[in-house]
């Protein structure tokens, strides 16, 4: 047991502080703590706010016990989703496996330590979305000490089974699917699955209105209750714990908690037995199995065709992004997916209020659409969508240690910067076209307005692209060993959001100042105004191209 605890500690220390150590950051950690602290507070606040509103409504109609069920299910579901993402990396793709295997450790010790890491990562999130609301419930319903004790046990116990279950499924998959490729496929699949779930949830919940009458609330409660009842059968632990948390009898609470404990222990034993049988087989197969496949010898003559450097370079950037699932998900797909998802969600929301598309279009067509006001809204929406395109902001970091390549080839750095932002501009244009297409469909804007908007939005897109590459040049993240470090643990990603916020602010200001201006003149002014910083920044990059590359070593 002693060894398990020590291993767990090492794994945790390693997985949580990898990035900081690699960047040699110790002085900056303070600001990092502040950023994370603020984020934490923000989410905690949000959860308290949402939870309070819901709970308040439920208490008013004496249906507050549903709240407990919802929270427990949320913990359960979240544990599943998070484990899908983390398990494959933690179990199979950590660098230390080859080192651990020849150590005199019993297999169960390694498995246990790895499982602990997954669980602890789980508890951090669960504290936010599980613990806080349940405490709130306790306070609002005036629960006694038994409730709080049971609740703590519940928060600890509920995530265990899903973590074990998902880990076991992953181990099964990996024990016969040996190729490393599967990691990428698996993660892509998992990401798409989660996206689908999120879309489904937002569509189904977007029907909810803010101010519910008691009657409507009651109806919803019946529905929610039905759902919980339905799912409960499959997840006995949640069932028991719901009972334990909402009962008034101490005896019942103890019995239900013991039942949960029993099931968890049985699940744990089964997990350990199976994991010891299959985990190491899959791990070893993944680390050392196979070898390069023998390849077909013929090289397509087409491959030898030469192309202009800019084509070749931009092509290289695109290949690097499309063949890398993490970059694909974070850089390219959002450009297409985000406008579509947003529109679907909003449409579904309106639709559930009993309005069909026709009515919506009829309705909007009654207000004057070909105005500066509407044009600014569309531009603002585009700004919002494009801030999720992380191509430029990671242009240098994506190359990792190989970024020095830029500095020893006989191509000017300025040109290379431009080649690197072209993909961002292209994807911006994709988003713009999709958004304008939807706008045309719903609002039936005149073609000239669309063209003018396209031009101005493109200028704004170019500004964003060239501004963001400066950020990445000034603070590149070049020492990483997993692509996630570039797109997840990267504080630079705040900058596109900031810029978009500023832009949206400017748009709001313009609408306020130039309310009744002709749409073409207004948008024309905007476009001209945005040209200025774009040209200036471009000039800046050109003049300081060598200096900007100083951080690339």
């Amino acid at each position: 047991m002693d060894k398990v605890i020590k291993l767990t500690k090492i794994f945790l220390k390693n997985s949580f502080s990898t990035m900081d150590a690699r960047m040699g950051i110790s002085t900056k950690s303070k600001s990092k703590i502040i950023v994370y602290g603020l984020l934490f507070l923000y989410f905690a606040g949000l959860i308290i706010f949402l939870g309070y509103n819901l709970l308040d409504g439920l208490i008013a109609i004496h249906q507050e016990t549903i709240f407990v069920g919802m929270i427990l299910f949320m913990i359960f579901g979240l544990a599943i989703i998070q484990t899908i993402f983390s398990s494959i990396n933690i179990l199979y793709f950590t660098k230390d496996s080859e080192y651990l295997l020849p150590l005199p450790l019993k297999p169960y010790q390694i498995i246990l330590a790895r499982t602990n890491v997954m669980l602890i990562a789980e508890y951090v999130i669960i504290f936010l979305i599980g613990f806080i609301p349940l405490v709130m419930y306790g306070i609002l319903t005036g629960a006694g000490i038994v409730y709080y004790l049971t609740m703590i046990l519940a928060v600890i116990l509920v995530p265990i089974l899903p973590v074990l279950l998902i880990s076991m499924i992953v181990m099964f998959i990996m024990s016969f699917a040996k190729l490393t490729k599967n990691r990428n496929r698996f993660q892509l699949f998992a990401t798409l699955l989660v996206l689908a779930i999120i879309i489904a949830i937002s569509i189904s919940t977007s029907g909810m209105k803010q101010d519910l009458t008691n009657e409507e609330m009651a109806q919803m409660v019946v529905q929610a209750n039905g759902m919980i009842e339905l799912v409960k059968g499959y997840v006995p632990t949640v069932d028991y714990l719901m009972e334990a948390l909402t009962t008034n009898s101490l005896f019942t609470a103890i019995v239900e908690v013991l039942k949960t404990l029993g099931i968890t222990i049985i699940g744990f034993i089964v997990y350990m037995l199976i994991a010891q049988k299959i985990y190491f087989k899959g791990l070893v197969g993944n680390l050392f199995g196979g070898g390069a496949s023998s390849s077909n010898k013929e090289i397509n003559q087409k491959e030898y065709r030469n192309s202009k450097l800019y084509k070749s370079y931009v092509g290289k950037e695109f290949k690097n992004m499309t063949r890398n699932p993490v970059f694909l998900m974070q850089c390219l797909i959002p450009a297409v997916l985000i406008p579509i998802v947003m529109v679907v969600v909003v449409y579904a929301g309106l639709n559930s209020d009993g309005m069909g598309l026709e009515q919506i279009t009829q309705m909007v067509q009654q207000i004057p659409i070909n105005t500066f006001f509407i044009a600014c809204i569309i531009l603002g929406v585009i700004q919002f969508f494009t801030m999720f395109i992380y191509i430029s902001i990671t242009a240098i970091s994506r190359d990792g240690e190989n970024a020095v390549f830029m500095k020893y080839i006989p191509v000017s750095l300025y040109k290379q910067y431009m080649y690197k932002i072209i993909p961002n501009i292209i994807m911006n244009i994709v988003t713009i076209i999709i958004t304008l297409g939807i706008a045309k469909y719903i609002l039936n804007l005149p073609v000239i307005t669309l063209i003018v908007l396209f031009i101005v939005a493109t200028i704004m897109g170019i500004l964003q692209s060239i501004a963001m590459i400066i950020v990445d040049l000034k603070r590149p993240k070049l020492n990483w060993d997993s692509e996630y470090a570039v797109v997840k643990q990267n504080l630079n990603l705040v900058f596109p959001v900031l810029l978009s916020m500023v832009n949206i602010g400017i748009l709001v200001g313009f609408v306020y100042l130039l309310k009744d201006i002709n749409v073409y003149i207004g948008v024309g002014i905007l476009g001209t105004l945005y040209m200025i910083p774009t040209v200036i920044i471009n000039k800046y990059i050109y003049n300081r191209q060598d200096k900007l590359a100083e951080k690339i070593i």
Binding site: A21, R22, G291, S293
Partner: protein, 252 residues
């Protein structure tokens, strides 16, 4: 003494998109390594050296064949064997957020070295390998040579009896590799059993009592460096290697 008998390791790999084929990374390998001996494992990239050493270190299971350590085998005495093994492969940083000392301390914990001894042992190793000045540095900030010393040190805390070293000096400058090679020689003189794979023929000639040459998964030659040079009618191991593996002759 390590005895390796008729070891074969088969992998399945993709021939092309649809077909799969089986290939042997190691084929019927037999040799023994006595106490107080350094056995060099030589061969071109992809010959199967690393696979062989991984099997001996207990990471991979052989498809056929037996490996025994002074009469013990992995089926019955896995933990006991691993308590006595030092396995070093490649030159990668692991747990690089820890300091050198912390990492070595952790290794002591895992090998069950008690508190008092572990401090003594770490200092001892640090002295022998010349690591004193970076014991408190984070591993992430170490140079290549320093990292490899740490990698070696972390396999030594338990005073192992069998050494399995896979390319221990690749990428090191002459000073660092000299320290490591000297250390290996000393350990041999203490009666330890050492398996050592390398690309540097001069190094092998220098320190190995016997060498085994592997090509395409099979032993193509085994013996002392002298024997091999004599049999192939060459003056150094490098030329012997070319004669045996084929391809090019000496350019001297």
């Amino acid at each position: 003494m390590i005895i390796v008998e008729h070891i074969t390791k088969k992998f399945v790999r993709n021939k092309n998109k649809k077909e799969k084929e089986e290939f042997s990374a190691n084929n019927d390998i037999t040799f023994e390594a006595n106490d107080g001996e350094i056995i060099g494992i030589l061969g071109p990239n992809g010959a199967g050296k690393t696979t062989l050493l991984r099997m001996i270190a207990g990471i991979l299971e052989p498809t056929h064949g037996k490996i025994s350590f002074d009469g013990m085998n992995y089926k019955e005495n896995e933990i006991k064997i691993k308590q006595n093994i030092a396995y070093l492969s490649g030159n990668t940083k692991i747990y690089d957020t820890l300091s050198t000392y912390e990492l070595l301390k952790m290794c002591c914990d895992i090998y069950g070295v008690d508190k008092e001894n572990s401090k003594k042992r770490i200092n001892e190793i640090a002295k022998v390998l010349g690591m004193e000045q970076f014991l408190c540095n984070k591993i992430a900030n170490l140079s290549t040579g320093q990292t490899q010393k740490v990698n070696l040190a972390r396999c030594l805390v338990h005073n192992p009896k069998y050494y399995i070293l896979d390319e221990a000096t690749t990428g090191l400058d002459i000073i660092s590799s000299q320290i490591i090679l000297n250390f290996i020689k000393e350990e041999r003189d203490k009666g330890k059993t050492i398996l050592y794979s390398t690309h540097y023929m001069e190094e092998a000639e220098n320190i190995c009592n016997r060498v085994i040459m592997i090509n395409k998964g099979k032993i193509i030659k085994a013996g002392t460096p002298e024997e091999i040079k004599k049999d192939t009618d060459t003056t150094n191991l490098r030329d012997a290697f070319f004669t045996l593996v084929g391809g090019v002759s000496s350019y001297e």
